[in-house]
């Protein structure tokens, strides 16, 4: 039996070594092919990036030599387009890229969407969204009917949000998959304001992570119409929503009255007190000082620290803090006021 085991183990080792040897040869061949691919890609970039620049920015005629022949050239074009799309906001350039991609790159991504490999399909979905290949929308809807992963469905939602917002709203109402707040933010940030504001209409019907993402996205859109929507949420029953609405309003940076915020000065949640101390940064100290003084003596370290920082931001802030240091008995608050005042002086 032992003899058998020895020969068995030797056979196993021999087989494994042969398999590994074949894998190594495959790897070396693969590297060679990759190197050829990279050379072809780099050659295209070197030869045609100036032509691309002239076509996109100097309104020169489109040359047929720019049309990709093979995958390496597609990847080169992706790199050129991506560098423009990420760094330059120019509607004409975006439009030209979209037009070219629809005409000449579509067929490549169409094929990729049918690939058995998940990563290839994902890359195709990325490109359809980035290069705005709207002619593949129907294909994407067909693709949705197949067995796809959560990540692929997320990319489809992103594509719908860009090309067809009504379809996007329809899909997002169907809670097939739940995503993280950060992912929802990535979807919402692309929406037009008239679509995005619809999330506030029936706010309570959305799951919590969508609600949070909506509140967090609103200030990024920099549109005054969301101030009222966020202020309405200050009276919501859920504390987390109040706190996020306060944060959103702070980020909007426009505080037209302070009455709505005063109840949060005595909130049970320290996070709400912290946020209201931040909100008061956008309010003249004459209106907010009495509340900030109260917050400066808060039991929570972060609230005290924020209150002191808010006070010191004001033109008369340091003087107010000095006055507070001289008159207060609260040692913790005095220390905080001293530190913040000293840092302000150091940074002057």
């Amino acid at each position: 039996m032992i003899k058998l085991s020895i020969s068995f183990l030797i056979t196993i080792i021999a087989i494994l070594l042969v398999v590994l040897f074949i894998f190594m040869v495959y790897l070396l061949v693969q590297r060679q092919r990759e190197s050829h691919f990279e050379n072809a890609r780099d050659r295209y970039i070197q030869n045609y990036s100036q032509l691309w620049y002239d076509y996109l920015f100097n309104k020169e005629h489109f040359s047929m030599v720019l049309v990709p022949r093979g995958r390496a050239q597609v990847e080169a074009i992706e790199l050129i387009f991506s560098s423009y799309l990420k760094n330059i906001i120019n509607e004409k350039v975006q439009c030209d890229i979209k037009q070219f991609s629809n005409q000449y790159l579509k067929k490549f991504y169409e094929k990729d969407l049918l690939s058995k490999r998940w990563s290839i399909r994902m890359n195709a979905l990325y490109r359809i969204a980035d290069l705005q290949i709207d002619e593949l929308l129907i294909m994407c809807q067909e693709f949705e009917k197949t067995k796809i992963s959560e990540e692929e469905y997320f990319q489809l939602l992103k594509i719908y949000s860009i090309f067809q917002s009504n379809l996007f709203m329809e899909k997002i109402k169907m809670p097939i998959v739940s995503y993280s707040e950060s992912e929802y933010r990535r979807l919402f940030v692309l929406l037009e304001d008239d679509v995005f504001i619809r999330f506030f209409d029936d706010f309570n019907s959305w799951p919590a992570n969508i609600q949070f993402a909506v509140i967090d996205t609103a200030p990024v859109k920099r549109n005054m119409q969301y101030i009222d929507q966020l202020k309405k949420l200050l009276s919501h029953d859920v504390a987390e929503i109040n706190i996020r609405a306060l944060k959103g309003l702070y980020e909007m940076g426009v505080i037209d009255e302070i009455e709505s915020y005063i109840p949060f000065v005595t909130s049970d949640m320290w996070e709400a007190r912290l946020m209201v101390a931040k909100v008061f940064k956008h309010v003249p100290l004459t209106y907010s000082y009495s509340y900030l003084e109260q917050l400066l003596q808060d039991e929570n370290w972060w609230v005290r620290s924020q209150a002191a920082k808010t006070i010191v931001e004001d033109r008369y802030g340091i003087a107010k803090l000095q006055q507070f240091i001289e008159s207060s008995n609260d040692q913790y608050a005095i220390e905080m006021a001293q530190e913040i005042a000293a840092r302000k002086e150091e940074n002057k």
Partner: protein, 473 residues
């Protein structure tokens, strides 16, 4: 004579059974890792990176750099942190009472000025002497404190930090510019369900570097270091990826890991009375998760890379391995009640037994295997055959797995792109079972003995610098 025969058979049987168990476990973990990496093979990572470079999608992180006598490497480490592509960070360098020029080097290089700052004591620590702030980089802070060890320095960093997540980085390590973005990915995408994440550690000896950026990777020339490169690749493919998939990770390297501050503080911070403080924190957090019955995870992320300096001499390597193993044993021993305890679920039933049997007690059995082979050589008879089987199992375990790891890493990540380097690693992997493996086994057993004797030392590694020639001035 009969007793010797029975003894030898029993001894051989135990070792054979153990070796088969380890090989099967490693095979299973290797297959899981392969399937996992295969899924994302050729996926364009820039899509995620570009989207999350905006502070709107990420969370701020405090970067903690504990430094004890790190005058050689600390400046490059800080530069690598300044180079990070991440929207909001603060860098906190904690000088743990260094006796060399670490403090002066940092003060001069980053123009540090003393500031007054109140520090919240979330975790009790040794006293802070002075806090400095860089005049060039406002998000860079230096804390000078009394010597209290790495764990104490990290606890000071946690107290000083202002962000909800902190990342610990060794004072001699270099981060890839996208590594923080990628290690934070599971935390961001899980809405905080992942409360700690660790990145992949690679050996930087031989790499070309300037101002904290590795611009060319090169396989080192020192055989001892190459063996460590292979060892790291194998550990990463046959362990962490698979364990992480099932939330079973007990070790994420202290050289590069991110933790939720809230959970770390609740766990009491890093333990100052234990050698493996990084493992200890992970195990304590796992314990907390189970005791509070919360749905939280700790993950290992294969993609983000932290480059670190590996020991170049036998003496330093011996010291390191001894300490690692002692730390492992201490932590497992401290939490021994978690082993096979239903209260701790998979951690108690899979992780702990695996770490006890394979990682902790494994070196004794394996070393026993080597001893068996030597004895069998003198005793002759049937022992030759058992010894031969054992040797063949060592070949599978040491050589085949190593080569598979090298090739698979080369396919999925291609850290060392030159053909010659790949072949050199493969050739060296054939020699592992004859010198490197027995040596490390011996040192790990020494670690066990030191644990039993309750010996302890700080054993700070003597640095020569990751890339001497390109050292930032």
């Amino acid at each position: 004579m009969k007793i010797i025969d029975y003894g030898m058979l029993l001894f051989g049987g135990i070792i054979l059974f153990y070796m088969l168990f380890v090989i099967v476990s490693y095979c299973a973990m290797f297959i899981i890792a392969m399937l996992d990496l295969r899924k994302s093979y050729r996926l364009d990572p820039s899509e995620y990176d570009d989207a999350h470079i905006d502070a709107f999608y990420s969370k701020p992180v405090s970067l903690l750099v504990p430094a004890y006598n790190e005058e050689v490497g600390v400046v490059d480490t800080v530069y690598s942190l300044l180079n990070l592509r991440y929207p909001q960070t603060e860098i906190i360098i904690i000088n743990d009472g260094s006796t060399d020029q670490t403090l002066q080097t940092v003060i001069e290089h980053f123009q540090m000025k003393p500031i007054s700052k109140i520090v919240r004591t979330n975790i009790p620590t040794k006293q802070i002497k002075q806090i400095y702030e860089s005049e060039i980089y406002k998000n860079c802070i230096l804390v000078d404190k009394e010597n209290g060890g790495k764990a104490d320095a990290l606890n000071v960093g946690i107290n000083v930090s202002q962000y909800p997540y902190f990342c610990s980085i060794d004072g001699d390590s270099i981060l890839d510019e996208k590594s923080l973005l990628r290690v934070m990915k599971p935390i961001i995408l899980s809405d905080g369900e992942v409360i700690a994440a660790g990145g992949n550690i690679r050996i930087a000896n031989g790499a070309k570097m300037q101002y904290g950026s590795i611009y060319e990777t090169q396989l080192p020339t020192n055989y001892l270091v190459i063996m460590q490169v292979i060892e790291y690749l194998r550990a990463f493919l046959m362990g962490r990826i698979a364990l992480s998939k099932f939330n079973l990770v007990l070790i994420i390297s202290g050289a590069f890991s991110v933790f939720s501050k809230k959970w770390a503080v609740e766990a009491g911070g890093y333990s100052t009375n234990i050698i493996g403080e990084d493992m200890e924190l992970v195990v304590t957090i796992h314990r907390l998760i189970k005791e509070k019955k919360e749905k939280k995870r700790i993950e290992f992320v294969p993609d983000p890379v932290c480059w670190t300096e590996a020991p170049q001499t036998l003496g330093v390597l011996r010291n390191q391995r001894r300490r690692w193993h002692q730390g492992l044993f201490e932590s497992l021993w401290k939490h021994k009640k978690m082993t096979l305890n239903p209260r701790y679920g998979k951690i108690g039933f899979i992780s702990f037994p695996y770490f006890w049997l394979v990682e902790c007690l494994g070196p004794i059995v394996e070393l026993g295997g080597y001893i068996y082979i030597v004895i069998a050589f003198f005793l002759g008879k049937i022992y030759y055959e058992i010894a031969l089987i054992l040797l063949l199992l060592f070949v599978i375990y040491g050589v085949i797995f190593s080569i598979a790891a090298i090739l698979f890493e080369s396919w999925s990540m291609n850290t060392y792109p030159k053909k010659r380097e790949l072949l050199r690693m493969i050739l060296l992997a054939f020699t592992e079972i004859f010198w490197y493996r027995p040596l490390t086994l011996f040192w790990r057993c020494e670690g066990l003995i030191r644990f039993l004797l309750r010996k302890s030392d700080w054993g700070n590694m003597k640095r020569v610098g990751i890339a001497e020639k390109e050292k930032s001035q």
